[in-house]
Symmetry: C2
């Protein structure tokens, strides 16, 4: 999933294509997909007008078989991707945010394995901070943090399950429509490396981490 | 606040005393307090049995005037700290988790300035991930993420406000009792550097970041 336009970051180009340690962000997680024996092929969803640049970025990634322009929202992009994959009839599909560069092969494979068993699985990390809603720059209410997780990607699904769910339901990620369609979403403990680059400070952090990132 | 025992991390010593780049975690944030002209003195709250080791760790930090053993819970530790400070009669007190090493002076001072105006302020970061409650390793429910923040430290308060609040209310951080006592808690945008070391992966991450951390 690299079709976002990074409206939240002050950047000329979307964050998933920014360079960290001389390589575009998207290449980091693609390396994990490339290494995993559980992955057959990759479909890269991109924003309008980026086809040529992204083709160059993914050169050498032999599993990247398709590059496709996404829609206006994450939901539309997911629907376009799943429609396209119909002809391939995959058993399992994995969604991953290209803006999460530090993906380990072990996390990717754990999510896939759990999706094979349970139909749907996602990486998520427990929230250890106090959590509150703010309104007009003041605390409005606190919510219990027991059992509370931030959902990351990768997220993996049996193809038929996610296709059916996205016909009827929407959500800010791909697990929510699947959950709303009545399926169970299995937890896989993610990690703090697998954060999403959203703000300028996150990009700065990624530019430090990339110097040491070797994957696994 | 360095009185926690790090039950969530597999570590012989509490995480705030672990070494990252040859210095104990606690020294990093103390440096920010040391540098800020808005800080007069520091009180370090520690676990039972650590007095001697911590005395050595804070040697050279001229603003550290007191080291005190905390209680069983964060709430108890806060009450002990505030009781002790009564004789000093501070105008503003700042709470900071020693397990958040990467504290910038600018964030610290922003929180203090806002507390001077509004009585209470905390660093917090907006949650950009999808957030859900999990039960028995499956998603149980999703919650709206609009306006949802993870509350960090530093947190600053007018002394009288926080003392009164902690008499009647408890909470997993210090803003919650103050909020429950009827006061407003002002938002200060924190940053992704100011994360809390909770899990082994966080400590690993801190060991990468410390090589580049210069403060501000």
């Amino acid at each position: 999933m690299a079709a976002g336009r990074s409206t939240r970051i002050n950047s000329q180009i979307p964050k998933q294509f920014c360079k960290i340690c001389d390589r575009p962000v998207i290449q980091y997680s693609l390396s994990a997909f490339e290494k995993s024996a559980l992955i057959d092929s990759c479909l890269v969803m991109i924003p309008q007008g980026y086809a040529e640049r992204i083709s160059q970025m993914v050169e050498g990634f032999r599993k990247v078989r398709w590059i496709l322009t996404g829609g206006e929202t994450r939901h539309q992009t997911s629907v376009i991707a799943l429609d396209f994959l119909r002809s391939v009839s995959p058993s399992i599909v994995v969604f991953h945010d290209a803006a999460r560069p530090f993906l380990s092969v072990s996390l990717l494979e754990k999510v896939i394995e759990e999706a094979k068993v349970f139909g749907a699985a996602t990486a998520a990390v427990p929230i250890t901070d106090t959590v509150a809603y703010f309104k007009d720059d003041f605390v409005n209410s606190y919510i219990p943090r027991d059992g509370l997780y931030r959902i990351q990607t990768p997220q993996a699904f049996r193809y038929d399950i996610v296709v059916n769910a996205l016909k009827d339901f929407e959500g800010e990620d791909s697990t929510k429509p699947v959950f709303l369609s009545g399926e169970k979403i299995r937890l896989v403990e993610g990690d703090s490396y697998c954060f999403k680059i959203t703000k300028p400070k996150d990009l700065e952090l990624a530019r430090v981490l990339c110097r040491f990132w070797k994957g696994d």
